[in-house]
Symmetry: C2
Subunit: 398 residues, 2 copies
Amino acid sequence: MKYSEKILNTPSSFIRNILKVTDAPDVISFAGGLPNPISFPIEDLQKSIHCAIEENGAKLFQYSTTEGYLPLRQYIADKYKKDYGLNFNPEDILITTGSQQALQLISQVLVNKGEGIVMEEPGYLGAIQAFTLAEPSFYSVQLKEDGLNVEQLENTLKHNQHIKFIYLVPNFHNPTGITYTKDNREAIYEVIKKYDVVLIEDDPYGELRWSGEKIPYIGAGRLENSVLLGSFSKIVTPGMRIGYMATKNKELMNHVNTAKQATDLHTNIFSQMIIHKYLVNNDLRSHIEKIVQLYKTQAETMLNAIAKYFPTYVNYTKPDGGMFIWVTLPEGTSSLDLFYKAMEEKVAFVPGDPFYTNKSNVNTFRLNYTNTSPEIIEEGIKRLGNILYSLSSEKQTV
Amino acid sequence: MKYSEKILNTPSSFIRNILKVTDAPDVISFAGGLPNPISFPIEDLQKSIHCAIEENGAKLFQYSTTEGYLPLRQYIADKYKKDYGLNFNPEDILITTGSQQALQLISQVLVNKGEGIVMEEPGYLGAIQAFTLAEPSFYSVQLKEDGLNVEQLENTLKHNQHIKFIYLVPNFHNPTGITYTKDNREAIYEVIKKYDVVLIEDDPYGELRWSGEKIPYIGAGRLENSVLLGSFSKIVTPGMRIGYMATKNKELMNHVNTAKQATDLHTNIFSQMIIHKYLVNNDLRSHIEKIVQLYKTQAETMLNAIAKYFPTYVNYTKPDGGMFIWVTLPEGTSSLDLFYKAMEEKVAFVPGDPFYTNKSNVNTFRLNYTNTSPEIIEEGIKRLGNILYSLSSEKQTV
């Protein structure tokens, strides 16, 4: 039997595959991207379940509309207004089965085989997977410390006519932890506004900030073809798979809605109503503040441990929020080799390879700190440091 | 901005669009395909929610595996064994976001642009939508009273080399209510086994039988490339969007799993655990029996009303289960015209057009009886009958 070209080209998630190996209870894993389970507001969610059933009865259990639960869409529109001064209405919001689904739907709606998508390098591997199903040409634009390489972005857009969209994660980027500066965002906006492309700003981690001030989005509110993606996975629960897309472009929204119908009819309404009830009946701000304090402590623990245990020639990012630190080894060092050595010492992380569309055996890797206690973080980083030192002394003896 | 060819070719759901018109409280609607909300086991589900949280805590709220919750997959495998003697293991089962998602995933995995899909004529419009995103060539094979036109199926497979799969709904078919006979299934099997194609048997309504005996599947257990699709939407709740796919073909399963990862990471684990708890803690048989008795009464009421109020030249199917009756008007009569006249009298149904891949202005339409009380069914069919009589007298006077 023959399979489609698109599925043969789609990378199976390296992360999910290594998670199977690294899931053993004696392994210290910095590999996943899981929220800390102690951050789930289980008791308040239980109250919300009870409340939602009392109020809505059978409606929680029946088929529902493709666009999503209206009060939840209203809540999201209001939140964008309150937090960013953006003028969204409920009809500008579509509820998706996690924001992952929005990636798949938008690429299906915009991209014919061979047409272009601009990705950050490195970029979110789930996006690489979702987009690959649309059989695009990928164009990579490098990430720098302050955000995207704007010159390279402009060159890419200028010399390739068939680019349909640009996908960016400007806040606490996955995998690097980088946040685009305000100046970098302005420079990106000035470039993109000259081209007929869609800008997708994916923002699952934006609320998880412990340092610095919230920065306005690049395109939302001023680019005609602006799309924002958001999610309740990192601030309430990922298990319910509730994400959303926001755009003022009605034609695009209409097509994505049709694709959503064809894909799964509608998002779980039971979970939509529960999440909505949770959001209106609880103090979300103070709940998020607890998560932020938790992750801040974990991040600082990891950064301090890296400073203490890693050789000084190792570079790494220092995030202002989010879930990840990105480590860069000297040129020519393979993080995949390091991964296998680390697994022998029962420590796991994600080697950089799956975050690139056209590179392998890279010298970078991703560390997650949100799902491990400070003591374990210290121990895991210490072991990794020892391996790095032993690798560099091996090199010197060669 | 330009959109992809595949989305421009995807029909927006006629049903969902007319549901917006027919949703007014004074309209008698036979248009939807909704389960009767009085069939949802709300109290038992509430107990299951409580139980699932007590037992699993944070696991209900965390990210989970793409293939789905293992105990639920075990339950489904066991049920196939018990009900049909089929030898499925948990690794042969993938949990999907409703069985609608399985249609989208399988077509993405198998079909390159222009390759063939065999559909029933008429066929499930949600499948037409899902498959269209893979840009296939559709081949229609007619439905007859006893099932599929086997001769036409054989000719289609013989003369078209690039057909990747055949999609059938053999039990209480949507839209026609037809059930394939045992002989018809055998004849289909004898044809398909000679070709390198996948057979998808979609069975959302199979449990809803009030007349006759359960009939074995066509391909499951004997065709290498057999896929079964199932769902909890019609027997527990559609709001939680829990469907599944079963196949012994490991390579196919592996590719569908990758497509699922790329599409929405995994199905809502919170709902999977609740549904599982409901299934193991309750007597599903007796719950289904209640739904079956309810729908039997509604179907009989509608069939009796049709016999009483419709002109005798109108043909219609008499289902042994499921949710639909299919009506055929005399050649040359447009069911879309009838639809507009019926809406003036505040009665709605679905004209046949969206159930065909290459026909319009057809003389057929679909009636749903599961979501309306017997009194309302009688009144609605009476109004439709009056319109049909007035149409035929108009014709006679012309």
